[in-house]
Symmetry: C2
Subunit: 283 residues, 2 copies
């Protein structure tokens, strides 16, 4: 199976429409139809049920969609990492680390300092991204190593080492009645009048239905809290970055957040290994 065929199939399977898929791929519709049919012949499997009005995935087709996406990610990662390895060493990032823009700032600073002090340390480029994007960036080869936060992020398919665990706090507008309490429970903060918990986007970018404002990142979220439009449950390390308009109260029964360092399991890079070793020593 060639990656071209996979790309074509994934496009059709996602659009469920040959015309749109062809447009997205920048080719005409007939060659696309032919390519899919040929793929089906070679696999000996019907991938799509087509009537002249609708296209639907068969069981085999939906298997190929998920497996094919994973395979295309792997090919893309191979290409990207190779390209980077070939850049002139001067100034090239030896290592790209990705983490959520809003988390683990203390830990990250410590880690970067400690690693930079190692003999033979590579230049580390830090990539900051929105929530739940780290996984994709790591899978696609845009990054070599990530700081993830369980249970928010899944560590699916990576090697990981735990770096630390912390409780969570609820972030509230300064002056809110609850801020005088030494601690609260989840039951105290779900359904606070006028302060709903926000909604985060799903991996596909869509928002789940329900009350609560839609947010894309932590800064947005804190802004909304300061405006008295939402409250938020966050790892307690975020307290360092709260300004005067905001207050935080520990939530006793919120799930603990574990920060882990994650990297692709087949990584052979010495720089990644060194960074991970440094990280585990920090604890």
């Amino acid at each position: 199976m060639e990656t071209r065929e996979l790309r074509y199939f994934v496009a059709v399977a996602e659009e469920l429409h040959f015309g749109r898929a062809a447009q997205r791929l920048g080719i005409a519709q007939p060659p696309l139809s032919r390519a899919i049919r040929q793929l089906e012949r070679r696999l000996g499997a019907a991938l799509l049920d087509r009537t002249s009005r609708t296209v639907t995935l068969t069981e085999a087709g939906s298997v190929l969609l998920t497996e094919g996406r994973a395979a295309l990610d792997a090919v893309e990662a191979a290409e990207r990492r190779t390209r980077r390895a070939a850049l002139p060493p001067a100034g090239r990032p030896g290592l790209v680390l990705v983490t959520k823009a809003s988390a683990s700032r203390e830990l990250l600073a410590e880690l970067l300092d400690a690693y930079a002090a190692e003999p033979g340390a590579a230049a580390v480029e830090v990539l900051l991204c929105g929530p739940a994007e780290q996984e994709r960036l790591l899978r696609e080869g845009r990054a070599d190593v990530a700081l993830l936060h369980r249970p928010y992020d899944s560590t699916a398919g990576f090697h990981t080492e735990e770096l630390g665990t912390e409780g969570q706090v609820v972030v509230l507008p300064a002056g809110h009645p609850l801020t005088v309490r030494p601690h609260v429970h989840m039951a105290d903060i779900t359904g606070l009048p006028g302060l709903p918990l926000p909604r985060w986007p799903a991996p596909d970018g869509s928002y789940p239905p329900g009350p609560g404002p839609q947010v894309r990142d932590h800064a947005q979220l804190l802004q909304l809290v300061a405006l008295g439009r939402a409250c938020a449950v966050s790892p307690e390390s975020c307290r360092d970055r709260l300004h005067g308009d905001l207050a935080a109260v520990p939530v006793l029964d919120a799930p603990k957040v574990t920060t882990v360092i994650a990297w692709p399991p087949h990584s052979r890079s010495r720089a990644v290994a060194d960074l991970v070793r440094t990280a585990t020593r920090l604890r």
Copy 2:
């Protein structure tokens, strides 16, 4: 990047010889040279240093070798799982489970029975393999789920659930002086005169140097122990399968062995999810 190009590059990188690689790929040498050169142009990266006598990998080349192998595995897995999903449902294995031929027989039997009793259970094909082969079979899509044994097997890149932990025993020829002891320590059994620990093959099939007989599977190993040519440290559950010529003594300080069930992280199969759920309930 097309999988054809990747396959070509991996062949050359493994052989470090264009002629042999071309032969292995079933094509002539000139098109292979051209394909590699074109790949290098497109990536903007030198992958191989060639003189007219020797071929060596550049740094970028060795990155592409490991990343490319992973990508090719993913493509192969996609193809294989799709093909299987398209087989006529009658008699088709809904699920392929792989485990070492020698381990977890009790647990496996329990698991299969419990899963078969579930409503909507798929037919499970059990694949038995040599040590350390499960990973490859899972990555290549020949299996959907595996029983692995930490720390012997790496769980690199899979989702896992722990199923149980057990201590280890040393397996000795019946009548050996140590067999009267209620337990021993590792120090008691390393360097036993005439009973060296065996050598297992590395992932590439080669054996590490050193004393001790070379073994490929557990049956071979037990045979050698019975013949008085080796001793073996194994999970204690293997005691059930020891016949009269063999005796087992607990090793107090041997690492505990954890049996885990593992599956590819992007798996969307209901059958895999059901099986895993059944397995975690068994504990």
